[in-house]
């Protein structure tokens, strides 16, 4: 029996009337419509069956049936299956049961829709503001369809985010919104006892750009890949591919095999450059700048290669719905192979230097430890999870593009610390080189574009995941009328991983904060992509300063 049928039968047998409808447009996708009262039991049952929580997707369908909808998505990694449970509540009392007490990773997803859609989740352990700026007025929910994408309401006054209460006997050290160890704005309040970290609160989402809202109100299907690419500066192709795949699945469009191979090559080129970039940054964070310089020197070759293949160093602009825009010429391929050879040689030297360096061992071994069980519980993804012995990789578990034909190893280490993350990343660079060589060998001839006629049936749900260098990216698309999506949800890998950071920090030394945070390769811009209507970062940073002032005042009174 197919996995989808199996799961849907199990749910129907167990919950009977609570399961309203099941639908499986593809073998690897299962959409289950449920009554909202049963969400807790059903999601717990799915986790018990071995699922991993991905993300929650809230959407507004007030105009159609007066409801707000919520979808929780799960992945069965061993069976290549995504399960999405859909439920709805009337817009005048959008109350759902919170699944966060059992599935901690759902915490942010639920908080997101408290902010953006005005939903309520009973039993949520931390129902605080997550996404909207502190001075966003109450009662305006930007993701609702009645709110225009360029709304700029007057700011609420006298509001500030209340940090979690510091544990007894600890001092609060504010890190951010701007800090040398953060590459993007985010605020961490770290509670320390002496040098030991005892807890941490996070206030981020300071780089909202309203991308999701914009793409569901203004632009059309085939323009979104270019905007999706700009969600993240490092893994642009990943977002464009994931979005394009989701729309292609919804439209039932089958792209040419050659296009799939070129997508695979682009994704792996991106992985190569991203791993080298991270290696450099990690070296820099622990004060080993030679690694930083050398890793980035090697990376430069890949950037130039990408420039010649696609026309740009980053934001390749290659991937659109229906295929890719440029074909690989024989000269490109020859150059690609030459660069790979060179990079491989030089990577071996760097690898040797890193593995033999005692300073790196001392700074990364036993740092940022969490157990495999915790990593599974918090559904961490990517190298962070693989360094904790969790054997997941979307390329292998849910093959997309041309990965079904590729042979590669998924490096998994079980020392559960930052060192293992470094190893995963290094090994994956060599795997990426392996994959590109296979793809070049096996690439069939053919067209690179398939006509996308933009006549997509409205209200089709579709989900697609792609393994970004730093973890798994999930895109959820609900197709709409007017040639654009009704709802588009992006979940970047930092979204789940950042939620696990407070746990990684626990009982570590404060000086290790930069490398622990750096080890997840945080990308706040991807995480913050959401639908807020204006860039209000300037405003937020002011609040941050007030917070700092308040904190310092508190500290002073403490001393006096």
């Amino acid at each position: 029996m197919k996995a989808a049928e199996n799961i849907s039968k199990k749910l129907k047998d167990r919950f009977g009337a609570s399961v309203v409808k099941t639908e499986s447009p593809y073998d690897s996708r299962l959409f289950v419509e449920i009554k909202k009262e049963a969400v807790k039991e059903i999601s717990n049952e799915l986790i018990a069956l071995g699922a991993r929580y991905l993300v929650g997707v809230g959407y507004d369908s007030i105009k159609r049936d007066g409801n707000l909808g919520m979808v929780h998505t799960f992945s069965f990694d061993r069976d290549d299956l995504f399960v999405c449970i859909k439920m709805a509540a009337p817009a005048d009392s959008p109350v759902f049961d919170s699944i966060t007490p059992d599935i901690p990773n759902a915490g942010w997803s639920e908080r997101e829709y408290m902010d953006l859609l005005g939903m309520k989740f009973t039993g949520h352990p931390k129902p605080k503001r997550l996404i909207l700026a502190d001075d966003w007025p109450e009662g305006i929910y930007p993701l609702r369809k009645e709110v225009p994408h360029n709304l700029m309401p007057p700011a609420a006054e006298d509001v500030a985010y209340q940090l979690d209460e510091a544990p007894e006997g600890t001092t609060t050290v504010p890190i951010g919104p701007f800090h040398t160890c953060l590459h993007e704005p985010a605020h961490f309040a770290v509670y320390v006892d002496g040098e030991t970290i005892k807890g941490c609160d996070y206030r981020g989402f300071m780089t909202h750009r309203g991308i999701e809202k914009l793409c569901t109100t203004e632009v059309s299907y085939n323009e979104v890949p270019f905007i999706a690419e700009r969600i993240c500066g490092i893994c642009g192709s990943v977002h464009a591919t994931s979005y394009s795949q989701a729309v292609e699945l919804a439209a039932g469009l089958k792209i040419s095999r050659r296009a799939e191979f070129i997508r695979t090559i682009m994704l792996e080129i991106e992985r190569l450059h991203s791993h080298l970039l991270w290696l450099g940054v990690a070296g820099h964070l622990i004060g080993f700048d030679t690694v930083f310089m050398q890793a980035w020197r090697i990376r430069e070759r890949i950037m130039w290669l990408a420039e010649r293949i696609t026309g740009n160093r980053k934001t390749y602009g290659m991937i659109v719905i229906g295929g890719v825009r440029r074909d690989l010429t024989p000269e490109n391929i020859q150059e690609l192979l030459d660069v790979l050879k060179k990079v491989e040689e030089e990577m071996l030297v760097v690898q040797k230097a890193i593995i033999g360096d005692t300073a790196i061992h001392k700074r990364t071994r036993g740092v940022g430890c969490i157990t495999k069980e915790e990593a599974v519980k918090w559904s961490l993804v990517g190298p962070v999870a693989r360094a904790r012995g969790v054997d997941i990789d979307t390329r292998r578990d849910h093959p997309y593009a041309a990965y079904d034909e590729m042979k590669f190893d998924v490096p998994v280490f079980d020392s559960c610390d930052v060192w293992a993350t470094v190893l995963v990343r290094i090994v994956e660079t060599f795997e990426a080189i392996k994959i590109i060589r296979q793809a070049v060998d096996k690439m069939p001839a053919g067209p690179v574009m398939t006509e996308f006629d933009e006549a997509v049936k409205p209200l089709v749900h579709s989900i697609s995941a792609v393994e970004a260098p730093r973890g798994e990216v999930v895109h959820y698309v609900i197709t709409g009328e007017d040639n654009r999506a009704d709802r588009w949800r992006v979940r970047a890998p930092t979204y789940p991983n950042l939620q696990g950071v407070p746990m990684m920090l626990l009982n570590d030394q404060f000086a290790d904060f930069p490398i622990i945070l750096g080890s997840i390769d945080p990308c706040f811009s991807c995480t913050d992509r959401v639908e807020v209507v204006d860039v209000r970062s300037g405003r937020v940073s002011v609040v941050g300063r007030n917070e700092l002032e308040e904190l310092s005042r508190k500290k002073n009174t403490g001393v006096n």
């Binding site: 360029n150 709304l151 293949i309 934001t315 440029r326 230097a353």
Partner: protein
Amino acid sequence: MVLKPGVVTLKYPFEPHPAPETFRGAPHWDHHKCVGCGACSNHCSSRCILVRDMCQELRVMLYDGSRCTYCGRCADVCPEKAITISTGFEYATGDKNDITERVELFMLTCQRCGRCYDMEHTNAIDRLDLRGYRYDNLEARALIRKTSDQFDQKLFDETDKFARPTKIGE
């Protein structure tokens, strides 16, 4: 690891460092070839190609380079190959007009009806309008969803004073 590669820093900007042939730089319009179909404007994801009919016969296409992401999509979709992508990349400037390109096209009128697309609401040009592709105020470059066939002073004033909504439904 360090000694073998030696110094790799380029002397740029003191020595020129040209971009490869395939580089995607700023687009340029060939006004001899352009037929004013608006396909580039239709596909521009950053909405930086503006189309405005100044009057029945005159169509202005304005390329606003300050918002361009150099994706090169406009050149892909141009049916007349009127758009070429240059390899230039040194576009930093203090004056916006340095990177703005303006094409004024003399449009023919339909001999039968004067303005064909005025009569129906299903053709591509009208759909452009519905999706907010046109700009009515080239100076303010604010995104407005309305347009007129003839130059309309009232609409122009309206768009001239365009401000972002601060209340829902405004």
